[in-house]
């Protein structure tokens, strides 16, 4: 699941400053699940913008709409009539959704209202943690199913750095676990520590040629 979080209000305010009528476009897929851009969040942001009393702010009118997946042109198409009515679109979808929207409505400015942050999973209600960095060269078979590329702050492949904090926490954040300590414990439990003793050569950063493009086998 793609995880995102709302941008700071000041940033949003600057983006939309010249416009009087806006469409807030939500997406009912990933960003809805992570409480960043579903129908509820669209409603909250719309209400905030209507209430905006900060200095120099003029009254704006805000339309709200949420589509099933904003990264699908056909689904975004549903919004055409509404987009026609407004001066600009503020999208609460991930970067992919914002760009789809921008491509579909080339004559309208489309702005991102959220920062797309990572691919992750919920640890509990309302808390998401990063799990995958879409590196294109999956390493999980060697690490007991724990990704060192994103869950280690330094993306190390050959074991922990010397900065592990007491109790196996990360050098940069005592709230976060050291991925390599987790990997050690998992592999130890599975009696597969030999995997950790192996040497792994430097990563292949060409695994995904940027910009990424994948053609499925034609049926």
């Amino acid at each position: 699941m793609i995880i995102a979080e709302r941008k700071p209000m000041e940033e949003i305010r600057q983006m939309i400053a010249p416009y009087k009528k806006l469409l807030l476009a939500g997406c009912a897929t990933c960003v809805a699940v992570c409480w960043a851009g579903g129908e509820k969040e669209v409603g909250i942001l719309a209400s905030q913008l209507r209430l905006d009393q900060s200095k120099g702010r003029k009254k704006i009118s805000v339309l709200e709409a949420t589509v099933e997946r904003q990264c699908e042109k056909e689904m975004v198409e549903e919004l055409r009539d509404k987009v026609q009515e407004v001066d600009a679109v503020l999208s609460l979808a991930c970067g992919s959704g914002v760009q789809t929207m921008a491509e579909m409505f080339e004559d309208k400015p489309v702005f991102p209202a959220v920062n797309t942050t990572f691919i992750g999973m919920p640890e509990r209600e309302g808390l998401w943690v990063e799990m995958c960095g879409a590196c294109g060269d999956c390493f999980l078979d060697r690490t007991g199913g724990i990704c060192p590329v994103v869950r280690c702050a330094k993306g190390l492949l050959n074991g922990p750095c010397g900065g592990t904090r007491k109790g196996g926490k990360c050098e940069i954040d005592p709230e976060k676990d050291c991925a390599w300590v987790l990997i050690y414990r998992r592999l130890e439990k599975q009696d597969r520590l030999d995997l950790m003793r192996q040497y792994y050569t430097p990563r292949n950063f060409r695994a995904v040629k940027r910009p990424g493009r994948i053609q499925a086998v034609k049926a």
């Binding site: 809805a32 579903g38 509820k40 509990r124 209600e125």
Partner: protein
């Protein structure tokens, strides 16, 4: 289709004096959708009710607003009036113009009253009917435990015709209840033979639960007994797993011939061959925590018995004596009358071993003096703890415990024996420091609740009051994680997409899920955003 709203104004037998009802009537009649406005002074009496019914029928009213007293007071009554007029009871909204308008302010409050009625009308316009449905339920009950509370619960449940399974971890029932019986004057053995002879009660000893799933009316429980596992369905679950005690002793001391528990003392008192005869006995309780009701009772009973049998000198050290149970005050008086000395101390007395005796040093609050007592026997303070396995069982059933590890009551004042999960109940010591009479009260209330739920084999309940729209649900699981009553689950619609589904029987209609749903997929009838916003929109109109 345009709704037809009927407004019924009532001045509550002229208890509402600062509202101009004529003006109000005129004003609210203008609200779009309002078909008729009636004025009454006794809406909740027989004639008022009859007038209401005939008006609803005559005018073809499909939404009713009553502007009168508090809905807390009469909402239920008016819903029934609607039902008798052939309308769904949920197509009803009440404007509280009495307690929260007329009586709360001085001077004329007509303007506010009109606005409060407008709020109710706005809401009424959007209300939807809530249907009721009968759900079949399993009529069997599973009772955990084998002590006083469990046996009593099983017997009473069986007596009201519900088949009951008693599930006990130990090899025999009542193994820890025998002393309690002699202490409190009841005969456990007759209870046990009654239970064993009851065809409606199945007894599973040396048995434990390995898994539990399902919700009220249909809990599926896997039970392991003697290497075999069986799966069985129960309509309700009663936890009567009791408590255990632990001596609260300083680390350097341990229980021995001089320092004993209440239970040990009981056995000593009953032992005909006992050679020693303690001349001085000290008792201690209520220092470590305030849950000392049971140790107080044990002390009073044991002190009296020791006085009678051994004629010992008895000193009781405590912070306070809790005698709030029936008969406890009398016991306390008896104990004092026959010479038991009670010393009230704020601080925990110092206990030291002293040449085969036990030295107790305490500061008596009333005397204000340090007291030193050397006694032959100290009956040490006992801590009350949840019985072993409470933690495991609670996590198996997914119910909460309090800070001391006992089962947490949903709300101790309103529902002392109900858990937050409908269909799971607690009785007796597993929910805290209860004396026997309280345990029996627990048993009775649980039996009544379970009987109400299961006796007919069906539960009539409102359906789809809280409902997740499968089209809008993005299966984020938020509602499932937050539901305080564990009433939402993930299901496949038509064997395909997974979505959240509210289980109507287990739902307690709090709306926490609706308020948190990021996809706005959960609708709570009568409290949907539309209905709340309609009320808000009426504010400030006047």
């Amino acid at each position: 289709m345009e709704t037809k709203i009927g407004i019924f104004l009532c001045n509550c037998g002229e208890a509402i004096r600062n509202i101009d009802f004529a003006a109000t009537k005129e004003e609210v009649a203008q609200i779009p959708g309002v078909t008729c406005v009636n004025l009454s002074s006794n809406l909740c009496l027989k004639e008022g009710k009859e007038k209401m019914i005939s008006c609803i029928k005559k005018e073809n009213i499909d939404r009713v607003v009553v502007a009168a007293c508090s809905p807390d007071f009469k909402e239920h009554f008016f819903r029934q009036v609607l039902e008798s007029a052939g309308l769904n009871g949920h197509l009803f909204s009440m404007a509280n113009i009495r307690e929260q308008c007329s009586w709360a302010h001085e001077g004329d409050v007509t303007v506010k009253a009109v606005e409060v009625i407008k709020m109710a009308v706005n809401r009424a316009r959007l209300l939807q009917p809530v249907k009721k449905k009968k759900f079949p339920v399993n009529r069997e009950v599973l009772v955990f435990g084998g002590g006083f509370a469990a046996i009593n619960a099983a017997l009473q449940l069986s007596r009201v015709g519900l088949r009951t399974t008693l599930l006990e971890r130990e090899a025999i029932l009542g193994s820890e209840t025998v002393e309690l019986g002699s202490l409190c004057g009841f005969d456990i053995s007759s209870m046990m033979s009654e239970v064993e002879g009851d065809e409606n009660i199945e007894i599973l000893t040396s048995a434990e639960v390995t898994a539990a799933a399902g919700k009220i009316g249909g809990f599926t429980v896997r039970i392991r007994k003697g290497g075999e596992e069986i799966s069985h369905k129960y309509g309700a679950v009663v936890l009567a797993t009791g408590y255990q005690t632990k001596l609260a002793l300083e680390p350097e001391l341990k229980s021995d011939i001089n320092i004993v528990s209440q239970e040990k003392l009981c056995r000593m008192l009953e032992d005909p061959n006992l050679e020693i005869r303690p001349r001085t006995i000290g008792f201690m309780f209520d220092f470590s925590d305030e849950n000392s009701r049971l140790s107080t009772l044990a002390t009073l009973n044991n002190a009296l018995a020791a006085k009678q049998k051994w004629d010992s000198e008895i000193y009781v050290f405590c912070k306070s004596v809790k005698v709030d149970g029936p008969g406890a005050e009398k016991l306390y008086r008896e104990a004092r009358d026959c010479g038991v000395v009670f010393l009230k101390c704020e601080a925990r007395p110092r206990i030291t071993a002293d040449n085969g005796r036990v030295k107790i040093e305490a500061k008596d609050v009333f005397l204000g003096e340090d007291t030193i007592l050397a006694c032959d026997l100290l009956v040490a303070e006992e801590l009350l703890l949840p019985s072993e396995g409470t933690e495991a069982l609670s996590s198996l059933l997914n119910i909460r415990r309090d800070s001391r590890g006992f089962y947490q009551d949903e709300n101790v004042h309103l529902y002392p024996v109900a858990s937050e999960k409908k269909g799971i109940f607690f009785v007796g010591g597993c929910r805290g420091d209860l004396d026997l009479s309280r345990v029996l009260t627990d048993v009775s209330s649980v039996v009544v609740s379970v009987y109400e739920l299961l006796s007919s084999g069906n539960i009539l309940t409102e359906v789809e009051k809280v409902k997740a729209d499968p089209q809008k649900c993005v299966a984020c699981l938020t509602c499932i994680r937050v539901c305080p009553h564990d009433a939402i689950q993930l299901v496949r619609v038509d064997g395909g997409k997974e979505v959240a589904e509210v289980f109507d029987l287990a739902c307690d209609a709090c709306g926490v899920c609706a308020a948190i749903c990021p996809a706005k997929a959960i609708k709570f009838r009568a409290y949907r955003d539309e209905e709340i916003l309609a009320q808000i929109e009426a504010i400030g109109e006047s």
